[in-house]
Symmetry: D2
Subunit: 311 residues, 4 copies
């Protein structure tokens, strides 16, 4: 065991999640800890067994938004500390010497098989599709000569590292598909604002009037905060009611976001804070007139002055 920070991820080595992890940290400065699935990775952070986890949160490749968001929002508090977006693209890999006509079975994670469904139907129509516990596991079994399949769909680069041959690169039914991965941690520290940040929240509305969603969004709009994502989620605990998962384009250390949070907290029965962190895009978030930290500070000083008789 080292003193390096421990990072849980969907293992084994070679998964898209590992690629996301490596896109976020420097190799050699962390101790990667492979886990069987997203709930296990998050549980390891909650228990203190690891320091962080990297998990997919949007657009299903190795575990989708639903499970991750629900697991994050329930139980001991966790927060998102950063995000990275990777394109969804596979390589069809084989052992050296195998040609496409030899392939009777192909393996990948069930999400990987699904992401390449049409390509497999067109290219390998007769091949059996074997779901592995991860895309990397499929490639590793193939390299080890076990598993009973002649090909695997592997994340870019993994086949080469394993000494496999790449028959086709850039395999994906949808060339625009991408997966968003997030780095998770305990809430003891929030990353500093960068000017290009997101805040992720889960919110339950007070009732289902036509106006309740509007009133919730007005808490953002009244402080000039834009949303980049909103999804209603049926509440499993209360059929017919909904919660909302949103990404807001501001950092909790910005007054506009802090004030929006105060307003949300006051007027909704449940608000779960899931972190403020740098947006993967890196594009600085526009700050509308009257919503900068300076605007808030000046307005507050003015109100404070009024209250003490200075105008």
């Amino acid at each position: 065991m080292t003193d390096l920070p421990r990072y849980a991820y969907l293992g084994p080595s070679g998964t898209f999640t590992e690629a996301a992890l490596l896109a976020m940290v420097d190799v050699g400065e962390v101790e990667p800890v492979p886990m069987i699935d997203v709930p296990a990775a998050l549980a390891a952070v909650r228990s203190g067994d690891v320091d962080h986890a990297v998990v997919a949160i949007e657009n299903t490749v190795e575990g989708g938004v639903t499970a991750t968001l629900d697991t994050l929002a329930q139980g001991d508090p966790l927060v998102i500390l950063g995000e990275v977006v990777l394109p969804v693209s596979f390589e069809l890999v084989v052992r050296r010497g195998t040609v496409i006509e030899d392939i009777t079975a192909v393996s990948a994670h069930s999400h990987g098989l699904n992401q390449c469904r049409r390509w497999l139907a067109a290219t390998l129509p007769g091949a059996v599709q074997i779901a592995a516990s991860s895309n990397a596991a499929a490639a590793q079994e193939l390299a080890a000569g076990v598993g009973g399949f002649e090909a695997a769909l592997a994340p870019p680069g993994l086949g080469e590292r394993l000494g496999l041959e790449v028959l086709t690169a850039g395999v994906a039914d949808n060339p625009h598909a991408a997966t968003r991965f997030v780095k998770i941690g305990r809430p003891s520290q929030v990353p500093a604002p960068t000017g290009a940040d997101k805040t992720t929240l889960a919110i339950c509305l007070p009732d289902d009037r036509a106006g309740a969603l509007l009133a919730m969004l007005e808490q953002f709009a009244a402080r000039g905060v834009n949303l980049s994502r909103i999804e209603s989620r049926p509440r499993s605990d209360r059929p017919g009611e909904y919660s909302f998962s949103v990404d807001a384009l501001a950092h909790i250390d910005e007054p506009r976001m802090a004030e929006a949070l105060v307003g949300l907290k006051r007027t909704n029965p449940v608000v779960v804070f899931l972190g403020s962190y740098p947006a993967a895009s890196g594009y600085p978030t526009p700050v509308a007139s009257g919503t900068s930290a300076e605007d808030f500070a000046e307005a507050r000083a003015w109100v404070q002055g009024l209250r003490s008789g200075r105008h």
Copy 2:
């Protein structure tokens, strides 16, 4: 000169404004200072010549909302410290022995003549109407036997004090008419909240889009603050643009009002604070769920906790 606080009002003694002043303070504890009109009364507060002024602000009897609000909003800051609402009702007073058939001329302030226009047309159709500098001045001249008129329309009680005879009481074209008077002071202290307070503001919008007025009102609604009065006012300095005069049902020391003010200040080019003071009605203002001082304090503590890693 005494050490009592000096109160400017529309004089002379006996006016409706004096009645309003006496409804607000105890006789003997203030030094009333009669002034010729509202601008003069407000100028005396600004110069420090008096401590306070009492002026009519709504529903014209002795000077209307327009002049008072405009004069308040421009120049050195002044604030409203309290309000009182008096019904509009006159007494037709004469010197003892005069009967109604003797009346060839009747005097009152021009607003008083106007408030009783229909009654005068029906009751004294042939009488000349002489505009006095105040209703009280008309009655005093009548008592002194000067002024060339046999009758005056006087505030209730004044005729009796002057030794005049009341021919008809309760004179007013509109039995529901009332005038709202306010006590004005320099902004060195704001009255403490009572639970039944108003805050008066003058606001210029950033532009005249359909959405600008809505956005301004959302700053109140997002904090659960109701308005009891709103009036658009053409801006004399910018033709085609408008300012808004509003009374909000909350006190600047309440977080919901303070936060609404912060929001208004951030997003509008001009916001003039004209005071937080007890409402004349005395009805406690309802505090909607999620908008009490405790709700704000709890929500802020929660956000502060999030920022320092406590959830």
Copy 3:
């Protein structure tokens, strides 16, 4: 009696209201009918005794917004058919040979005296102010040598027509003051849209929640309709409740205004339509993207197509 359309106005000949009437119609094509006050003029339209009335509706010179708006909104329906805005400016007129030192009494309508209050205090401090039934009546009595005063404040031009001498022109305490006059008629026809129109409404809200005013304004904003005036008015029939008087910058024949009216009518207990008419400014009203008649027609045709299966 002629066959010309009959127009009631605040008489006698020479008032500001007559000037407003003459600014709206061609002399010789109407029969002016002088009335004693605004309620009498409106009653004459309601009874059919006249075809139209011209009355002041904003900024008090000869009768103010309150009385006119309230009288319009109650009783048999009347509508505004047009408007004109005149500056508030008087001439101090005397009989030939009178000099300013001779003036011991001056007459005008009570509103006129009030509009020139500061000027009179400075220029004719010792003069008795006699309130006449109209500014024109004061000048006529002066010309006739009756009334017991040596001077009158008269609308521009009237003194000359009466053979009086103008001692001072441009008399007014506030050089920006102006009065808005409207032409009133029965609702049998609404003027055609011109592209620069106003619609005047009186609206009572369903309750006094913070959101009720906002919801009312959203009915305008959702159709891109701007307001040029909004005033809350205490309801004399229900203390503590308010109605709202608004001018909206669109014509009822425009779909955006018609749809806003449908929305207002559905969601508020009282909506009184007081006319759609050309704005005095003549500035074409901007039509925001998506709110033109064509936009509505296209969107409706689209929805109609959807309902019948065409997409």
Copy 4:
């Protein structure tokens, strides 16, 4: 070939989608047409090869919301005609005589494997997971003795129909999981309103201001229409921009929904109508005061009367 209406569904016989189809129509009154995936099923409706399709639209079992919604929204218009919600629950089926210790490989659709991931890890930790083209196909291959696996996860009832043995019923990681299926058709007819209806829309906002989402939702709120689902979707054609997929609780034949659609169409660059249809819940949708068909009819008649001079 029969004259019965042809229904495409994700085949082969025995899938969850077939179960959804059978929950919507009477056996014997339709001709089921098995298809390889959702895009193929929708293409068959577009081409006229079939009359309808039944596809999963929410909560991934056999193809998820993303693909279905995107495929619906692009290309020739299609509409949703009805919906049904089925719980997610599998049976572990084997050939008679097989016991759990015999199982070295298990097959199901990749989504099915994923929905039972934790259960498989606990119950059959060593078994190879083989992804089939559908859950039903896995069971059929098992019954036919081909495919090289000893067990399958099958929709309830299918194993018994195929002569297989059910080792475990009620298999699912999340006992609350359910899938929503919809019946798709060409837009030539919209089902009649039932009082408990949904309308599904895809909407692109005009820009990404904080106010744009709010303005979009105000078009619903101004007509009293509630949403039961909202999801932002990244636009693959315009990175950084979003479209919104919403379910609104009203029918296009209701004026409140039709008017909301007119407003949405006017003010947003893209609005795709994806059908009005009975909600699976069957709960009548509350109609807020002022938003019923009668309220609209009365308000429109009132406006029409105003325009023709009747008040």
